[in-house]
């Protein structure tokens, strides 16, 4: 599209001319409200888009405007009407964009500029409970689509002048406000710089959502793993910012982006912190084992039953043999069939309304499962295995990682179906190499396992007791490594009595 050139010196003009020009611009849009009147012998025009502005503010504005018995000029308007947001605009293009975002314009005939007041009204939803990342303990609120609300939440939680909320605008055609959030006394400068660079270098027409932005700025698109953490939980966002990570919030998106991430940060939950450390550690380890099991258990079943039944002790082998006796398919087909069924159930459950979803769970899970066994399509044991792997993949605190795990399973099942243990091992090695090749904001994805950092190592796998938790992740080189002094922490002196 050819960019429309605004002819220089549009103002001063007559009210009628202005009206004509504006109406031409808003052709076929019946939105523009343009009213002109005469006050103290001067012609004035007020124009705005009705539903984008706060109507009672407009009334107030007009009341002050008309009650004064004097001749208005642009200068007096700016100086004497007590609304902070008064601005001069003389560029037609700017007037148009400002009209859209809810500014009220006043133009006095033959003046050099129009005066605008920002009185936008914006509909937003209220704060609600987190849906996708639900917690048992801890704060319940989730981010909303309103950037202002989200910033408000964050500002109230981190009441420190060190918190930086850099504003950037991304999108050529449909610009969108993006905030880069970090603690300037903690976060690593290089990480901040990398993130800023990536955001600034983006040359796209629009950013659909934070999740899309995350895909634009992540390190590698061909990689299977999510390389930036996304969360809808303000508390998680804030904890990670305090750890020295860089966050990004996007207008109109209830998702925050956090970087750098590691595979382990996807397995952490803020709830680990709210629990006492023993249970917190237990749950975190449980989750790690669960994810591993979820990836490996169905392929393992397929490999063992098709190739390596020698590995199973005789008694177990008998029961597996019995349950498989009526099944006409090879284990590979059987497993793929059932995994497919489970994926169907999940997807259907995610799409359906909640109330119907429960019924569907019962129908799908119990009825179909039982019927499949009775019909001799699958074995009981496989149903247990597949259900277990599905259950295990639900434990991932991050939905993104959960979906990756779901995806990874299928090639592994195929590999073990064709090549047994050898194929399975090949798949696992490939997965590890793939993880090693993954980067998040230029950092390794396997920190602190590789490159090894012993002091970070324990904190990743175990939720350390609070008094040992005095350190931020050394691997990321935060500006302030210690959260509180080590010595006092060890003596529990940080607790005032």
């Amino acid at each position: 599209m050819r960019r429309r050139k605004v002819k220089q010196g549009f103002f001063p003009t007559t009210i009628n001319q202005l009206k004509e020009t504006l109406e031409k611009q808003f052709e076929n849009n019946s939105d523009l409200m343009f009213s002109s009147f005469t006050h103290q012998g001067k012609k004035l025009a007020v124009f705005y888009i009705p539903y984008q502005i706060e109507s009672n503010k407009l009334e107030k504005l007009l009341k002050t405007l008309l009650s004064e018995e004097k001749e208005w000029t642009s200068e007096t308007l700016l100086n004497e009407i007590p609304l902070g947001s008064g601005k001069k605009t003389s560029d037609l293009q700017q007037i148009l964009t400002k009209l859209i975002v809810g500014e009220i314009f006043i133009y006095i005939e033959n003046e050099n500029e129009a005066i605008s007041y920002q009185e936008e009204s914006r509909e937003k939803r209220n704060l609600e409970k987190a849906e996708t990342e639900s917690l048992v303990l801890g704060p319940k609120i989730a981010f909303t689509e309103s950037l202002e609300t989200n910033l408000n939440i964050i500002r109230w939680e981190i009441r420190s002048p060190d918190l930086v909320l850099e504003e950037l605008t991304i999108g050529k055609d449909l610009p969108c406000k993006v905030r880069m959030i970090y603690l300037k006394t903690v976060a690593n400068d290089q990480d901040i710089q990398t993130m800023r660079q990536r955001l600034q270098d983006l040359d796209v027409d629009m950013v659909e959502d934070a999740a899309v932005l995350a895909q634009y700025i992540e390190d590698s698109e061909t990689n299977l793993f999510p390389q930036l953490e996304t969360t809808e939980l303000p508390d998680r966002f804030i904890f990670e910012i305090n750890e020295g990570k860089v966050g990004v919030l996007v207008e109109n998106s209830p998702t925050g982006i956090l970087a750098p991430a590691t595979i382990f940060s996807f397995l952490k939950s803020t709830e680990d912190l709210y629990m006492r450390w023993q249970t917190g550690s237990f749950l975190r380890l449980l989750r790690m084992i669960a994810i591993f099991l979820s990836i490996i258990i169905t392929p393992l079943y397929v490999a063992i039953v098709s190739f390596h039944y020698g590995i199973i002790p005789t008694q177990l082998l008998v029961s597996i043999g019995k349950s498989r006796a009526a099944v006409p398919f090879p284990p590979l087909v059987e497993a793929l069939l059932l995994e497919f069924l489970i994926e169907l159930l999940r997807e259907a459950g995610a799409r359906l309304p909640t109330k119907v979803g429960q019924t569907m769970g019962i129908v799908g899970g119990i009825v179909i499962g039982q019927a499949a066994v009775d019909a001799g399509l699958t074995s009981n044991i496989l149903i247990i295995v597949v259900a277990m792997s599905a259950l295990a993949s639900f434990t991932a605190p991050s939905y993104l990682l959960g979906t990756t795990v779901r995806l990874v399973r299928f090639p592994l099942i195929l590999l073990s179906g064709f090549l047994g243990f050898y194929g399975l091992m090949f798949g696992l090695c490939l997965l590890i190499i793939h993880m090693l090749r993954t980067k998040s904001l230029g950092h390794s994805y396997l920190i602190p396992v590789y490159p090894l950092n012993i002091s970070d190592f324990l904190g990743v796998f175990i939720r350390l007791p609070i008094r040992y938790n005095y350190k931020r992740m050394e691997s990321y080189h935060p500006k302030k490594l210690f959260r509180f002094p080590k010595k006092e922490a060890l003596g529990k002196k940080h607790m005032k009595k």
């Binding site: 190739f307 390596h308 020698g310 590995i311 199973i312 002790p313 177990l316 090549l419 047994g420 243990f421 050898y422 194929g423 399975l424 091992m425 090949f426 090695c429 490939l430 590890i432 190499i433 793939h434 090693l436 090749r437 390794s444 396997l446 396992v449 590789y450 490159p451 090894l452």
Partner: protein, 340 residues
């Protein structure tokens, strides 16, 4: 995996002494290697040889190294595929196995040096749990098998040490990765630890094998180490040897990766072949060779060849190299003093 048998064949119940001798020798060689490397600030062996012997001979020696590594690479493929073949899949085509291995190695090396190092690091730790399974063979060991001690003659022990070489080869890679290391002060300590650990592994396996098998059996059993695992079983799992064979891929893979990397580096440094092509070509040839060569005797022959070759190249040659470096330094100093 099959070492204990070979060492035992030569040095009998005193095989463990042979391994100790090898260890001492290796520590010596590493010391020599570091002395050579320290003369140059940031050079690998390819560069050092060219500097010492001139362009032609230096490049020729570099080529010898590349050839050595290439054959080693092939033997790694051959030996692992052979084991998988015997223990897991008598029917699976070696071509498929080789191509999968080659794919993994390629994918790693293409990720750059740091991925190659990462693999070596992570895959070093992941199979360590296999140690725990050895409790069963250990509990069944018969310590009488070690008697009479110190029975083997000096030549027997030295021969045994020579046999050990193939299993501990690989530390000479230090010659090539040295320029990439950032903390050069720690190199010696780490190298010593690494070599000691690998000797310790070989030693433990040998000692357990000698104790577990009767002398007669041990001379007959190929891959005695895996056979050790056959006796381990739990109530929920039998035949752990399957798992060990597969887990061994994690031990084999770093070897493949580092060898592949060194070869491609050498080709780049000596012949200016971009790694992009050389990696593919080398891997393709390896896969081809690995799927063609099937006879146990041939594999054994090649492995023996590389062990002998390695003995001269890795255990003897560095001493001469150090000599040359010193001579050159002496000459150079004389020259410079004359000039002054």
């Amino acid at each position: 995996m099959g070492v204990p048998r070979f060492i035992f064949k030569v040095a009998h119940q005193d095989a463990w002494i042979s391994i100790l001798v090898t260890l001492v020798w290796m520590l010596l060689v590493i010391q020599v290697m570091l002395m050579i490397l320290k003369q140059y600030k940031n050079a690998d062996l390819y560069g050092i040889q060219v500097d010492l012997f001139g362009k032609w001979i230096g490049k020729l020696l570099g080529t010898v190294y590349i050839f050595f590594y290439f054959v080693s690479l092939v033997t790694v493929y051959l030996n692992y595929i052979e084991v998988v073949h015997v223990f897991l899949y008598p029917t699976l085509s070696p071509f498929v196995m080789a191509i999968l291995l080659a794919f993994l190695a390629l994918y790693t090396v293409m990720g750059g040096f740091h991925v190659a190092v990462g693999i070596s690091f992570i895959f070093f730790f992941l199979p360590q749990w296999l140690w725990f399974l050895l409790y069963d063979p250990i509990s069944r060991m018969d310590f009488d098998h070690f008697l009479p001690m110190f029975d083997a003659s000096f030549t027997q022990i030295m021969k045994g040490a020579k046999v050990t070489i193939y299993s501990v080869l690989g530390f000479e890679i230090l010659f090539f990765i040295y320029p990439y290391l950032s903390n050069k002060k720690k190199v010696r300590r780490s190298a010593f630890w690494a070599v000691s650990f690998s000797s310790f592994v070989v030693m433990t396996c040998t000692v357990i094998s000698i104790g577990y098998f009767s002398p007669h059996d041990l001379s007959d059993v190929n891959w005695s180490v895996i056979t050790l695992y056959k006796s381990v079983s739990f109530s929920f799992i039998e035949r752990l040897d399957y798992i060990v064979v597969v887990e061994w891929m994690m031990i084999v893979l770093p070897n493949l990766v580092l060898l592949l990397w060194v070869i491609s580096q050498g080709l780049k440094r000596i012949y200016n072949v971009p790694p992009k092509y050389s990696l593919y070509i080398i891997s393709a040839i390896c896969v081809l060779l690995a799927s063609i060569i099937k006879k146990y005797d041939t594999i054994h022959f090649i492995t023996n060849f590389i062990a002998k070759f390695g003995f001269w190249l890795v255990f003897i040659y560095p001493f001469f190299l150090l000599l040359f470096v010193w001579i050159k330094k002496l000459l150079f100093r004389k020259e410079s003093s004359q000039n002054a």
